[in-house]
Amino acid sequence: MSYVAHDETAFAPPAEVEEVELYHPKTFVGKYIWSQDAKVIAIQYAITAIGIGLVALVLSWLMRLQLGFPDTFHFVDPSNYLQFVTLHGMIMVIYLLTALFLGGFGNYLIPLMVGARDMVFPYVNMVSYWVYLFAVLLLVASFFVPGGPAGAGWTLYPPQAILQGTPGATWGILLMLVSLAFFIIGFTMGGLNYVVTVLQARTRGMTMMRMPLTVWGIFMATILALLAFPALFVSAIMMTLDLTLGTSFFMPAIVSMGQQGGHEGGSPLLFQHLFWFFGHPEVYIVALPAFGIVSDLLSVHARKNIFGYRMMVWAILAIGGLSFLVWAHHMYVSGMNPYFGFFFATTTLIIAVPTAIKVYNWVLTLWHGNIHLTVPMLFAIGFIFAFIHGGLTGLFLGNASVSVPLSDTMFVVAHFHMVMAVAPIMVVFGAIYHWYPKITGRMLNETFGKIHFWATFLGTYAIYLPMHYLGFLGVPRRYYSIEGTDFIPESAHSLNAGITIAALIVGAFQLVFLYNLVWSYFKGKPAGSNPWRATTLEWQTLHTPPKHGNFGATLPVVYRWAYDYSVPGADEDFIPQNVPRREFTRSGDKT
């Protein structure tokens, strides 16, 4: 790189292309309901996602009540237990995490962090949210149809998913499939926006390798989602046709209760391949934004540049690419050629390499950092714990020979909740505590935040650590009751009761968080424009919260990467990305 000797801005040619016209709403409805502003859409996404996520949280309590205290709560019967399992999983993975990370954080942060006025297609962006809301409403509607919601497990494996006898096998599953199809259509509209905005609408000087890792994570996750969701889309359509028109894409000839079913010749395995071709990248669709966000949280709150920025970017790309080559490790027990098993086990273990690089880099970022134990930082560190923990059990399960005996046990449940539930939700919380001041102009209460963190962090460990042991004992997942099973010792039952109590407590403490969100909105400490003294562009806006158009009259020009913290010789311990060489001061300059 060569440094520009004089006025750096002089080198940037004047813009020749006319700027994209922003839609300026005049009415309340145009501003806050049918809004085309990415920031408002982000909040709409976030509120909807968190709302439906709370429903899924309650569903998990109901399941845990049955598992911890069987035969006590008679409103949970075997059918609706399975329905709770199914809806809890599907909502959490897709309607909460995917929508919140990409639709919520993506919409809010991408334009602000790359220095754009808005997404490039604001209208499509708006439609994306309303289609998502429609998908959520369809899913909610399935609670109220005859037979109740789908009860086939969140993986919806045929033939069981649409066979009579499975709870919700008529209306519930149909609504679920149609809702998924709409979700994907809505997401594709949003996803096109995120990708094109990152590639096309970056401000002057914002090279790809100067983008904050948050944007990198969301960008790559969006690409994964765009390429993976078609698999779910196709399988949802095919299963809908099997269900409604009697085609046999997935349904083999089945004799059920002495009756020949109407199907013949379909392949249930085909569904599994399609589902996991989507399902495994989905893990990284959730994880990559979390990786990106946590990198920024660690860097800001440790007042230190991220360790190995370029390596971090390449790791994100490598993980994204590899995630398409591992799907069949979810299918070891479905039966496959041993060479395939070997291939998929190997690719699965290879993914650990870029992932481990990221973990080392996070830890090395903390090393000798000026660590501020703020609430976002606590959650970021909590994420590292949960992620290492869940990642390591993933290495166990990636091996076919270990996976087979542990398949369908609570060990698997514990593993993916550590890596895919606790880890990302830590980042979600950390990110909300971090960016709430920008979104509302007020700080979240720190005492409430710390109570929330410790309860969530210790509580989730109390839930999932013992669950691994249940898995070793052979306690199966998705069973309504394990009463009277000889090989399961009495102690497993007490452990189950303990887990349930922990789950209820963790759930209850989320009320502290919700209360904090509302209380701080009115009574929180005013935040100012840059309370964390961060370098990225969203903290350099003229107004807090940023107004329509984000940056006032002129867009910022970027002169440096996003991680100039504690630069030797600089007066301040951070230099925002839009500060040119001539404007920042060194102590040496003054003397």
């Binding site: 940037a12 590639l199 000087g205 399609l274 030797p568």
Partner: protein
């Protein structure tokens, strides 16, 4: 080697124009969308060929009508290319004719596909549980829906080419339509060639590396 952590120097590098050009954005968005559609149809082809390897596979009966439909789709692509050629040279009447012809041929194609559905439905071979037949309806249906979506964009373009219009904007609309049509033609040729012209099992399996 850039070492941003050693120095606090800052400079504008990569003097990319920060303003967003909506033209470039639309073009890129179309490309990304085509990638998504390509994955969708690729998965269907893989699913179809995977199913073909089962012993009980019975190929769907062949429909001669599909050849005629294919011709109609090729013609619509050619007509759009012609419209693009004309609008770039300022020949607005030729552009309008090209656009209208493309739409007409597309409608012919879609009606032809529906006719093919009816022909297949009337045959003695017709059995909704037969995977080959179900795949035929599914794949042609999805392809047709994508074309219908294209017709919406086409309609919005056609509505704008009468009277005064912004030539640059129309040129881009025609360009985007043309790319989309060519792409869907290519998808159709792959689908038609591999799946619906006889039992191309061997070719498919070799393509997928299974045999």
């Amino acid at each position: 080697m850039v070492k941003p952590w050693v120095t606090a120097e800052g400079s504008v590098e990569n003097l990319r124009d920060g303003r967003t050009s909506s033209r470039a954005a639309k073009k890129l968005a179309l490309k990304v969308f085509l990638a998504v559609v390509a994955v969708l149809f690729m998965l269907l082809v893989i699913a179809y060929s995977g199913r073909m390897t089962y012993e009980d596979w019975r190929p769907a009966p062949q429909l001669r009508l599909l050849w005629a439909n294919t011709l109609a789709l090729i013609l619509s692509s050619v007509a759009l290319q012609r419209a693009l050629y004309s609008v770039r040279r300022g020949q607005m009447d030729a552009m309008r004719i090209g656009l209208l012809a493309a739409g007409a041929f597309t409608v012919v194609f879609l009606f032809g596909q529906i006719l093919a559905w009816q022909q297949l439905g009337a045959m003695v071979y017709f059995d909704v549980t037969s995977p080959a037949i179900a795949f035929f309806y599914l794949i042609t249906g999805l392809h047709g829906l994508h074309l219908l979506g294209g017709l919406v964009a086409w309609g919005r373009t056609v509505a704008k080419v009468w009277g005064d219009f912004d030539v640059l904007k129309i040129t881009q609309s025609v360009e985007l339509c043309t790319v989309y049509w060519h792409f869907l033609l290519l998808v159709w040729l792959v689908l038609f060639g591999l799946l619906f012209t006889g039992n191309n099992l061997d070719a498919l399996l070799k393509l997928c590396g299974i045999r």
